[in-house]
């Protein structure tokens, strides 16, 4: 009895968690304009996305493109910055190290709205014209701490003598970094990159405050504006389903690879 209740609780929790996504996914296969109406099974909305025949179409495609470009650049730059910072922080000692680690954690718990508004004020103060560049800079600034956080444990696991061993065998510091340190840190860097990419992908608040008035739209700001105009564009349903599926598949691949490499080591 106790077991059944526990089981039921878990299932209820999972249903509540996944119901909205499943709901969107199901209704992505019907053409009805309003969400919740079922007008028969159809791939029409999927076709519309790929053929560009979306209502108000070009705007959505541009938003998707902007989102991906921004996410990619922000993730790449913050992976680089975050890795270098992690190495630096790791080699600090005592109180200095603790202070910097603490400072690194603050941006992550800081509410997005505050980050957004303060960046907005900073850019205004510096007379930066806001647009693509400011959004990318803003995204780099809030993604980097996550990379630091995912690279640090890898540094901790590393044999502290490994870098010196490379120098000892005749590698210059740059060669030692490239041939020994980076390969060791790669798993942390990859997960940091993915984390940064997804953080950038679904950011709304920071983008909203730093995109300026040139009409730059990312997916989140586009959907927000779209929903305010009167109902969601129906094509957003298959789009969200696709994004969710891609992320799910990526996650499964990563997990399987991790499990395999763990097995190999044993």
């Amino acid at each position: 009895m106790k077991k059944t209740l526990a089981q039921a609780y878990i299932w209820l929790l999972l249903v509540l968690l996944y119901a909205p996504i499943v709901f969107i996914a199901i209704f992505s296969f019907t053409e009805a304009r309003t969400l919740g109406n079922w007008t028969g099974f159809s791939f029409e909305l999927y076709k519309n996305i790929f053929s560009g025949g979306v209502n108000g179409g070009a705007g959505l495609m541009a938003a998707i493109k902007n989102t991906l470009i921004i996410a990619f650049i922000a993730a790449a730059v913050s992976t680089l910055l975050g890795t270098v910072s992690a190495i630096g922080i790791f080699n600090l000692k005592g109180r200095k190290k603790k202070t910097i680690q603490f400072l690194n954690n603050i941006p992550m718990i800081n509410p997005d709205v505050i980050t957004g508004v303060s960046l907005f004020l900073l850019f205004v103060f510096l007379h930066f014209s806001q647009g693509y560049l400011t959004v990318i800079l803003a995204h780099i600034s809030f993604c980097t701490p996550y990379v630091v956080l995912s690279v640090m444990p890898k540094l901790g696991q590393m044999n502290p003598n490994i870098y010196e061993a490379a120098l000892d065998l005749g590698a210059t510091p740059a060669q030692a970094l490239r041939k020994v340190l980076i390969p060791q840190l790669r798993p942390g860097m990859v997960s940091g990159f993915i984390l940064a990419f997804t953080m950038s992908l679904d950011d709304f608040a920071v983008t909203f405050f730093t995109r300026g008035t040139i009409g730059l739209e990312t997916l989140s700001t586009y959907i927000y504006a779209d929903a305010r105009k009167g109902g969601l564009t129906p094509e957003l349903r298959p789009l969200m389903t696709l994004i969710f599926t891609i992320i799910l598949v990526l996650l499964i691949i990563m997990n399987v690879r991790q499990a395999r490499s763990d097995k190999k080591k044993r």
Binding site: N161, A166, L167, A171, K179
Partner: protein
Amino acid sequence: MSEKNNIIIDIEHLSKSFGDHQVLKDISLYIRKGEFVTLLGPSGCGKTTLLRMIAGFLQPDEGKIMMEWDSRNGKTEFRDVAGIPPHQRPLNTVFQRYALFPHLDVYDNIAFGLKLQGVPKDEIDTRVRKVLKLVSMSDYEDRDVESLSGGQQQRVAIARAIVNKPKVLLLDEPLAALDLKMRQDMQIELKEMHQKLGITFIYVTHDQSEALTLSDTVVVMNEGKIQQIGTPIDIYNEPVNSFVADFIGESNILNGTMIQDRKVNFIGHDFDCVDEGFGENVPVDVVIRPEDVYLGYELEGAQFSGKVNSCVFKGVHYEMYVETDSGNELQIQDYDAFEPGRTVQMLIHPDDIQVMKKERVENVIDCTVIDDTHIEMFGEEFECAPIGKEGTSAKAHIQFSKVDLMDHEEEGNASGEVWFILYKGNHYHLTVKTESGEHLYVDTNDIWDKGDLVGIKILPEDITVEIDDEQEK
């Protein structure tokens, strides 16, 4: 200078501090080509720091390291290596805990250095195979290094270093992580490898038996200073001070008095010995190895007698503690067992008595005078015998036996930690490190453990203060 030939590394007056803590103090040492040199000492003695400076990972504060160097024009010269980064030095290191590259397999780990040098591929192949064979790992080239056992990883680490044909191989406690049996096997292999390769080995360890087994020369270090340099036999048979005697092997270290040349008094008896030149009636430390005391219920030529306190079988020999007629306890090893409680007679041969100059006969501590009966030392205030002289900086003289150690730190005027314990047959000679970082030496009959926190109490009449001369002028 004539004996200083064939030298590959010459270290002169090297000092190094980390913050306020001086780790190496004026180290001078030379290493001959092809020699197996061991830097031996307890943890924190500076041996690893010295090795890291030779490798180039640390820069000396003072002094220099000279190294044999092949210059571009093919000449071999001797040069100061200050400022030369590790990757340009003609030596390789076997690190503690191996430090293999986990993302590379055995072959690529070993080929790492050769690839960086741009050695042609087929030469890399032959050289890697050759060292793999030397370390008996021929079938393992494609293996992931993390799938290897500790001993195998150690072999790969050695192979990775020697494949580059360094002039000197540095080994930083390479066997510390292996279990005893494995360690003994690897010791023999290392020794063979050293003979086969003819490379100079500099080996760091805290394990005295390892040092004695492997080395041509042992450098005993403690507290950042070289205590003694010598062959394993010299170090064992003729330790220069009580630290070396205690650290290397087992020993009885006793207070004695050198009566005249070749005559020394300890445990209440006069003994013939072979030492000369100490002067007459000079206090000395005497070292007797446990296996050098001859025991018998009836012993011809016996010099003294005692009562057996305990007798334990140790495999090859029995280990006994015998209380002598003068109340000193001696540790004795013998192939025969002697019953506890029985009276035995003992004999020590003159050449088995090692006499050492005492490093100190009393505490001499820098202090500051507060008033005629008060001084500040170890950062605390102490009452002392009336000084009767003006001056501020002075030295306090305190006999070892006049220092009282208290269980609770608050009970004393100052506090400290028991740092080093030496049993001297009928009392303990302790080194207490005060909170201010100074050393205070104490003779006591109480039993303390290393690391105990103690209060330090000294009666005023036992502190004799001597004003520094320079100030009087």
